[in-house]
């Protein structure tokens, strides 16, 4: 086989979830960039425009799923990169729970932001 480099143990649960979230993120990240830099220029963004977009259920759900999957993909990627670098034992446990807490806090704060943007908060 040709050379293949990865920080992930192929076939594992973390590997699979990283791939599944990647498929979703490829499309949504590209959409996010196109919508907020090309269709709408970033310099023209206002709260009213953001609120109009976030008031649409489909857009709100897509952006919230974007938050959750991007957080998981990022945090899982960092964890696997560090495991690949050789962390083990207490260090590995501390990194794991540190990243879990950081990820949960980010999703919680992102959810508050999303609710403020659609006028719920």
């Amino acid at each position: 086989m040709a050379e293949h480099y990865s920080s992930f143990e192929r076939g594992g649960r973390r590997w699979l979830l990283q791939r599944l979230t990647a498929v979703f993120l490829i499309g949504v990240l590209a959409f996010h960039f196109l919508l907020l830099h090309f269709a709408n220029h970033a310099a023209d963004i206002t709260f009213a425009g953001t609120q109009a977009r976030m008031s649409q259920v489909g857009y709100f759900a897509t952006m919230w799923l974007f938050l959750v999957t991007a957080t998981f993909h990022g945090v899982n990627g960092v964890y696997n990169a560090l495991v690949n670098q050789g962390i083990a034992g207490t260090q590995k446990t501390a990194v794991k729970w540190g990243l879990v807490v950081a990820g949960l806090l980010l999703v919680a704060q992102g959810t508050r932001v999303a609710l403020a943007m659609n006028g719920f908060l």
Binding site: M1, E3, S6, I26, A42, I45, A81, L106, V113, A116
Partner: protein, 131 residues
């Protein structure tokens, strides 16, 4: 028929001159991943101004966009995101066993396409009112 080569470990950065395309792809994917996850936390922090009211949110975003350095950082972010997406598609293909023989060429294609998309996007990113 593909061949196997013993090129040593990719973690041994001191040997970077001997690295193959697959090793560079691994390094760039990891680097862009670190940048993107760092940006994600920063992005939510900036967007948290929405919790302080419409005026604070709009003035913060427009104030940042008025800075030329932010526009350049956004071009950098686009480069990082586009490469991570294109190389991510390449990785999915590799994992599915598609195009293994051309995995080095697909890495070069990811680099060239990233460069082309970023250069073509510069006028859009640098356009609009600046401070």
């Amino acid at each position: 028929m593909s061949q196997s080569y013993n090129r040593g470990t990719v973690e041994d950065f001191g040997r970077w001159r001997e690295f193959s395309a697959g090793m560079w792809a691994w390094i760039f994917h990891k680097f862009t991943g670190w940048v993107l996850v760092g940006y994600l936390f920063t992005h939510i922090a900036v967007l948290s101004t929405s919790l302080g009211g419409a005026e604070l949110y709009t003035s913060t975003l427009q104030g940042l966009e008025a800075l030329l350095v932010v526009r350049f950082l956004e071009v950098g972010l686009l480069a990082v995101a586009v490469f991570h997406i294109l190389n991510g598609v390449r990785l999915l293909m590799v994992d599915l066993g598609v195009g293994l023989e051309a995995q080095d060429k697909s890495f070069y294609a990811s680099m060239v396409l990233t460069g082309a998309i970023v250069i073509a996007s510069i006028p859009t990113f640098l356009g609009g009112p600046l401070a």
